[in-house]
């Protein structure tokens, strides 16, 4: 897999965002900002976090809000790819509907709705 490590990284980060929202019963946006606020300023960690949120936050918000799990989010954002002839790699149990249908629907969600300009709260 050409992008194995970025896929693991994406699924790990999106899982933490999703679980932070669950634990604190907050929105996905609030959860992403909470995660970035926890990171130290050293090594540009906090800056990088806000940069990533600015870039991918809107799509992550749309997808997680539609109950897509981290596998679906990361395949939709193309951090994970199923190369031709390769098995589908996923960490969480697969959704009930077919993967192809799930992924197609997720791509529609991201494509169709107007691109949210990410406006960081406060």
């Amino acid at each position: 897999h050409s992008n194995g490590h970025s896929c693991v990284g994406c699924v790990l980060v999106v899982s933490v965002i999703e679980q932070l929202a669950q634990v604190h019963n907050s929105t996905v946006q609030a959860s992403m900002e909470r995660l970035c606020s926890y990171l130290p300023g050293k090594l540009l960690l906090k800056t990088t976090c806000y940069l990533v949120v600015d870039m991918f936050g809107p799509d992550i918000i749309k997808l997680l809000s539609m109950d897509k799990n981290a596998d679906v989010v990361c395949h939709t954002l193309k951090f994970c790819k199923q190369d031709p002839g390769q098995p589908l790699c996923h960490l969480y149990p697969l959704p009930k509907e077919t993967w192809k249908f799930t992924l197609e629907k997720a791509r529609q969600i991201v494509k169709k709705s107007p691109t949210l300009k990410y406006s960081r709260s406060d």
């Binding site: 896929c7 926890y38 098995p87 790699c89 996923h90 960490l91």
Partner: protein, 419 residues
Amino acid sequence: SNICSLPFLAKICEMIKSAIKNSVPFKDVDSDKYSVFPTLRGYHWRGRDCNDSNGMAYPGRRPDNWDIHQDSNCNGIWGVDPKDGIPYEKKFCEGSQPRGIILLGDSAGAHFHISPEWITASQMSLKSFVNLPTAITDELNWPQLSGITGFLNSTSGITEDSIYLRLRKRNRCNHRDYQNISKNGASSQNLEKFIESLSRNQLLDHPAIVIYAMIGNDVCNGKSDSVPKMTTPEKLYSKVMQTLKYLNSHLPNGSHVILYGLPDGTFLWDNLHNKYHPLGQLNKDVTYAHFYSFLNCLQVSPCQGWMSSNETLRTLTSQRAEQLSNTLKKIATRKKFTNFNLFYMDFDFQGIIKEWQKRGGQPWQLIEPVDGFHPNEVASLLLADVFWKKVQLQWPQVLGKENPFNSQIEKVFGDQGGH
């Protein structure tokens, strides 16, 4: 995306990359391979330099003129006793046979550790990521807490000390004489790429105890066709002999080399597969079996052979590991070298499992929770304890004698400048 492409960062990026690639300290003004900076291969990895503007002052060297005027070997002992005019280094260390500890290892020896607090949402807070910058600049390793060269107090509450701290307790003249020459992904086949970062002057320095502990990557890889990628006994033999010849031309006479065997890693699947991974604990949905399968599918697993639901593959991996251990044993019994004695020791994971269970622990508590692969801090220190006791029993000459002046050293020099 490539932050190093920014002109004002290009130079420092280059220096950091070089330090990591060559496993030598990033900040080393006098280029003696010892540093006053902790991370980026600094004193977390090898004894702290006590004078970074003098390339002839570094841990492990024989004292310069008995260190009357300066601490040339950074053990914190120098100067002259005003009562009798005898240099302290001569009085307290002469004849005590000081020695250093050097590890040639992989991510296990460097103590690879991803903190579960970084991915556990239910416990996450501002404090969770405080140590992340340090970990990143140490390549996610914590050698300062490792079982061989650790010098910090254990964070896991276990009382056992690292090999280095035991050598220091045995002879305070060994203070700061440790080197963790380890790398993530290291094996017998790529050690030659970074063995030059080992620092020992055959004429000027004290002898050393070198532990060769490549415990996994010769049978571990992320490839789906894992077995063909494993090191063969013949290849291992050839590279280890090359390594030993290199050591014989660099180690001071009177050194010792101990070859550490490989473990039986079937322990991992047997004890973890049906346990929840930290990512799966909130919703009870991800076990280590799922986690292993995900990594294997992406071909980024640290060890496809043992982190697999395929029992045949796990057995084959352990068989190869045993063959390689037997090869190391054969080398140790047959080969002689002028500057060091050579020994072999089994990697007795089953032994430390029994010890841990005696203390009321569970086997799975000996493995790093986030990667589900590496021995954790408790395991490393229990292994150090078993190692020390075996060496003390079988080859006591390796550890040197107890220094009768330890208490006086402590009285005069306290913590000898610490670490």
